[in-house]
C-alpha cells in the first residue's frame, strides 16, 4: 500500500501557494475596486493583442531553437560513457549556479553595439551586428537561460531506453537512421514534451530578459503584468485579468500538446 499521507505536506503547500493564488487572481480579474462583478478587465484584452502575439511568437521561436539545439545534445550525450555524461551534465547545470540576473546582464555586455561580440567582429574586419534591443536579443537570452530545461528532460528519457531495443531493431534489419527514427525518437517524445513545457511556459511570461536585452522596446506579457502590479500603472485587477487569459491560453496549448503526446506513446506501445 502506498503511504498516501506522505503527500499531505505537499498538498498543503500546493493549496497555499498554488491553488489559493490562482483563486485570488480569478477573483481580482472579475471584480471592481468596490467589490462588484465585472467583465471590463477581460474585455480590455483586445488592446494588448500585439503583446500577446509577440510573447507567444517569441516563446515559440525560443522553444523550437531549444529543441533544435537541445535534442542532439541530449541524444549524443546519452551515447557517451558514464563519466563523460556526468561531466557534461554538470557543465550544462553550471551556469544555473550563477544568479539569473547576472547572466542576463552579461549577455547585455556581449550583445551591445560596443559590446564583446561587435568588438570581435570589428577587429576581424567584419560588419557589426545590431542585435541588442531587438526581439532577436530577447530570443537569444531566453534560449540561453532555458536551454538546460530542454536538454535535461530529453536526456533523462533517452538515457533510460533499454539498449536491447537498439539491438533488436538492428537485428531486424534497421540501419542507424531507422533505429533513431522508428525507435529512439518516438520513445523520447515524452521528454521533448516536458522540455517544451519547461521552456515555453516561462518564456511566454518572461519579463526581466525582455527589459534588459530588449531595451524596453520589446514588451512581453510578463512586462505588461509587472507594469500593473509593481510598475508604472497600479492596476492589479487588469494585471490579474491579463495573467488569467495568458494562463488559459497556455493551458489550452499544453492540453493539445499532451493529446498529441499520448497518441505517440500509444503508437509505440508504452
Amino acid at each position: 500500500m502506498k503511504p498516501k499521507y506522505l503527500a499531505i505536506p505537499y498538498i498543503v503547500w500546493m493549496g497555499i501557494f498554488v491553488a489559493a493564488p490562482v483563486l485570488i487572481v480569478v477573483f481580482y480579474a472579475f471584480t471592481t475596486a468596490d467589490g462588484g462583478l465585472t467583465l471590463s478587465n477581460i474585455s480590455e484584452m483586445g488592446r494588448f493583442l500585439p503583446i500577446f502575439v509577440r510573447s507567444f511568437e517569441l516563446a515559440f521561436v525560443s522553444t523550437i531553437i531549444c529543441i533544435v539545439i537541445g535534442y542532439p545534445v541530449a541524444y549524443i550525450l546519452s551515447r557517451e560513457g558514464a563519466r563523460v555524461q556526468r561531466l557534461i551534465i554538470m557543465l550544462i547545470m553550471l551556469p544555473m549556479w550563477m544568479n539569473f540576473l547576472l547572466r542576463t546582464y552579461a549577455w547585455m555586455s556581449i550583445l551591445e553595439n560596443t559590446g564583446l561580440l561587435n568588438s570581435l567582429l570589428t577587429a576581424l574586419g567584419l560588419p557589426a551586428l545590431q542585435i541588442i534591443n531587438t526581439p532577436s536579443a530577447v530570443v537569444i537570452g531566453m534560449v540561453y537561460n532555458f536551454l538546460p530545461f530542454m536538454i535535461l528532460p530529453i536526456y533523462s528519457v533517452i538515457v533510460k531506453i533499454d539498449k536491447s531495443l537498439y539491438e533488436a531493431a538492428q537485428d531486424l534489419g534497421a540501419d542507424t537512421v531507422s533505429v533513431f527514427r522508428k525507435v529512439v525518437f518516438p520513445i523520447s517524445l515524452p521528454g521533448v514534451l516536458s522540455g517544451v513545457m519547461m521552456v515555453f511556459v516561462p518564456a511566454v511570461s518572461t519579463f526581466v530578459i525582455s527589459q534588459l536585452l530588449g531595451g524596453g522596446m520589446v514588451m512581453m506579457l510578463g512586462d505588461l503584468i509587472d507594469m500593473q502590479f509593481l510598475g508604472s500603472a497600479y492596476n492589479p485587477r487588469l494585471g490579474s485579468a491579463i495573467a488569467l487569459v495568458m494562463m488559459i491560453i497556455v493551458i489550452l496549448f499544453m492540453y493539445v500538446m499532451n493529446r498529441f503526446g499520448e497518441g505517440e506513446e500509444k503508437a509505440v506501445g508504452l
Binding site: Y5, L6, I8, P9, V12, R47, F48, P50, I51, E112, N113, T114, G115, Q130, N133, L212, G215, G216, M217, M219, D223, L224, M227, F229, L230, G231, S232, A233, Y234, N235
Partner: protein
Amino acid sequence: MKKNVSLLVAVCVLISLFAAACSPSPDGKGQVNVYNWGEYIDKEVLSIFEEETGIKINYFEYDSNESLYSLLMLGSADIDVIIPSDYMVARLIDEDMLEPLDFSNIPNFSLIDSRYKGLEYDSNDAYSVAYMAGTVGLIYNSAMIDDEITSWGALFDEQYSGQILMFDNPRDAFGIALKYLGYSQNTENEDEIYEAYDLLLTQKPILQAYVMDQIFDKLESGEAAIGPYYAGDYLFMAESNEDLVFVRPEEGSNFFVDAMCIPKGAKNKTNAEIFIDFMCRTDIALMNMEEIYYASANYEAAEEFSAQLDDGEYEIMFASEAVLADCDVFIHLPANILELYNRLWTDVKK
C-alpha cells in the same frame, strides 16, 4: 516519520518568520523600517544612527514612486519611513495614506531651506520633510555628438537615430514631450496629452532603448550618445566619462523634491520621526550629498558643500531661481488623467 519532519520544518519556518517580525531589538529601543530609492543615501549614516540611538534600522530600496505606491497598496510590508517625490506625496496625502508628523520630534526641521517648505504638494508642511532635490536634464556625449545641444528636440531628432535613450516611466517621458511641445507637465488637457503621445510614438523607432538606471552604463561606456536623467546622477556619471555634458533644455524642465513621510498606520511612528530628524542633521545631510550629488534640503549642508564645487557643478546641483522659473514641479493629477497616462504609455510601449 517523513511527514513529521516536514511538519517540523514548516512549523520552524513559520515560528522564525513570526519571531523575526515581532522581535524587539536587544536594548528595547525598538526598530524602524526605512524604504528609500536605490543609491540615494550614504549607507554609513545608517550605522551611525543605530549606534547613536540604539534603534535598529531595517533598510529597503525601491526603484520608482509607482512601485512604492504599489507596495503601500498591497499592504504586505511594515513600512515606517518612505521618501517619495513631490507628486506622489500629494497623491498619498490625497488618498489619506500618510500620518501627520509630530514636529516636536523633528527639531532639525528648522535647518530645512525655506524654498523646500510650503510647496504645493504639502502646502501646510504637515506630512513631509524635504530630503533632496534636483532637476531633470539632457546628458550627451560630446565625443559622439558635435553639435551643441540646447533643446529637448535632440531626443526626437532623426540624425541621432539609434543613439537615443528615453525614460522608462510615463510621468517623466510624457513630461519631456509636453515640455518640448510648450505645454505644462501637469496639463489636464487631453488634446495636449494626445499630442505628446503622438510625439512619443514617432520617437520610438529612432530610440535605442527605454531605460531607468541602466542609463549609467550605457552613457558611461558610449553605447548611447544622449538621454534624459537626473542632474545629481550626471555628476556621478561624469566621474567615469568626462566627455559627458549636462544641459537643461531651453524649453524648461522638471524640478523635483523627494520628501520623507510616514505611511498611515506605521508601527514605529516615533522612531520614524527620530530617523527623519536625524536625516535633517547637517553632518548627515553632508555625508549623503557627498555620496549621491543631489542637493540637500538642509541649507547649512548645501552651503558648506557648494564651497567645494566649481561654478558649473554648482549650477547643475543647485538650479538657480532663473532656471527654476522655467521648471515645472509635478503635481498629483486627477484619476482620469492618470488612467489616460497609463493607457497611452502602454500603447507607446506595446
